[in-house]
């Protein structure tokens, strides 16, 4: 006669798995735990300084300001202890700041790239420099944050003391329409941007989330959960999935004015790379970027393919040629195509990462 535990064991296991599944699907993980203090605030935007862990004399003298995308929460950079870019940089002695744009409300529907790059960013940088007595700084922009930092670098970089510009998966070139699914979806024949914004004011976070997930619908809507179920007995994997899911499902709207610029001026007309983008009457000339430039491109990025990030090299670099570093070989970094190290026009030697 079969013993009872042999029969009940699979049921107990299944119950435990369901319990874990319910927990990760219905709760939010603890994210963004690196200590930080508020330095400056304007409207919804906030500038934070991450609390240094090394003494002043051991820290790098040039602070790094992280500028995140407008339509996601920035805590992906500080996801969880041990798996945090912020924590890593702080431990390496970088004086690290985060410019968090917050979530725009109905009153912010007219905010444009002009406001973000010529009102918010210069004010935040001014406060940083005045408060901490520095003259130079580095900017790291991710996704739309990289668009903002690029525009800012071209318009205000020299004036404000921008020393290093780091772009992470920067969507700057929109000329290759065949490789840009978003460009196809937002083509003026199919997508009426004015009607959408007249209805919603700001572009709703849910619609942006749908757009991002619909690029790979099976992976995002099915495969992601299948992967969780397959690894549900592995607490480390579950913790990682939980944290990532918390970020992925926490969307913020994109200010209407900025969304219109993104679609009309960039996706449809590719004005930035053509040198036709006007920000408060000033033409954004990428050749005016004199800061050292490091652009990080992910090889298989389906949201920002490499064809969008690479062409800035030709605009910014003149005599010296840029080179791609060896692709990272560790299994956890296989998606990173290379670290493109670019010397600025004024630098005679290749600049590797951020100079001390």
């Amino acid at each position: 006669m079969a013993e009872a535990p042999v029969l009940t064991d699979p049921f107990t296991e299944a119950a435990e798995r369901l319990k874990t599944l319910t927990k990760v699907m219905s709760t939010k993980a603890a994210i963004g735990q690196t200590p930080k203090e508020l330095v400056w605030t304007l409207n919804k935007a906030k500038l934070y300084r991450y609390t240094p862990v090394l003494p002043q004399e051991q820290r790098h003298p040039v602070p790094v300001v992280l500028v995140f995308a407008l339509m996601n929460r920035p805590y992906i950079l500080d996801l969880r202890p041990g798996h945090s870019f912020v924590e890593y940089m702080v431990n390496k002695g970088y004086d690290l700041y985060l410019l968090d744009w917050g979530a725009p409300g109905p009153e912010d529907k007219n905010l444009t790239f002009d406001d973000y790059t010529l009102d918010y960013m210069p004010r935040a940088i001014r406060k940083l420099k005045a408060t901490f007595g520095v003259e130079e700084f580095s900017l790291l922009g991710w996704c739309i944050g990289a668009i903002l930092t690029t525009i800012y670098a071209a318009l205000r970089g020299d004036e404000d003391g921008l020393r290093n510009l780091i772009l992470l998966t920067a969507p700057l070139d929109f000329s290759d329409k065949q490789n840009l699914t978003f460009a196809r979806w937002t083509d003026e024949r199919y997508f009426d941007v004015d009607k959408v914004l007249a209805t919603f004011g700001n572009m709703p976070g849910e619609m942006i989330d749908y757009g991002a997930k619909a690029l790979k619908p099976v992976e995002n809507y099915v495969g992601n959960y299948v992967k969780l179920w397959d690894n549900i007995d592995d607490p480390r994997m579950v913790e990682s999935w939980h944290a990532m899911n918390t970020w992925v499902t926490d969307n913020v709207p994109l200010a209407g004015g900025a969304f219109r610029q993104l679609i009309v001026d960039l996706y449809r007309k590719d004005k930035l790379m053509r040198g036709e983008l006007m920000i408060r009457g000033q033409r954004v000339d990428l050749s005016r970027i004199h800061a050292n430039l490091l652009t990080v491109i992910a090889e298989d990025d389906h949201i920002t393919p490499s064809c969008q990030s690479e062409p800035i090299m030709a605009e910014v670099v003149t005599s010296e040629s840029w080179r791609a570093a060896e692709p990272a070989s560790s299994p956890g970094r296989t998606s990173m195509a290379g670290w493109h190290l670019v010397p600025s026009k004024d630098q005679s030697s290749l600049t590797c990462g951020i100079r001390r």
């Binding site: 409207n43 009153e107 959408v196 209805t199």
Partner: protein, 148 residues
Amino acid sequence: MAEDPVHDGKRFDPMEPWKGVRDIYLDAWGKTMVDMVNSEAYAQATGAVLDTYLTVSAPFREAVEKAMLKTLEQLAMPSRADVVSIAGRMTNIEMRLDDLDAKLDGIQRLIVQAGTAPLAEPRPAHQRSKPPASKKTSSAKKAKRGKK
């Protein structure tokens, strides 16, 4: 008696072959869907669906907005437009304050550069100088004495 078959420290999973088939199927389905969402037809279809939704829902949204506006008016409560207007004014005030802060920082920097004051470290409240009102009082007293 039934025993759990164990191979290389892992228990035998009867679902393992099925998982392989499932993964192959998901992979093929995923590639088909990526091709589909990349097509002009998909872009056209989603555009049409969105446009229809926006057009059909517009009268309902307008009706709800009007009803809400009247209700708020009856209850003497501010409407969304009122709150938005106040929020805009608040942001303008914040910008003015930020401008003043920039000017103060500039003045402080000039003072420090001129060497007329030590680096501005926030001092505890009990060490701060007395407010200008007391100086006015003392000068007033002097003036009175002079008159006498």
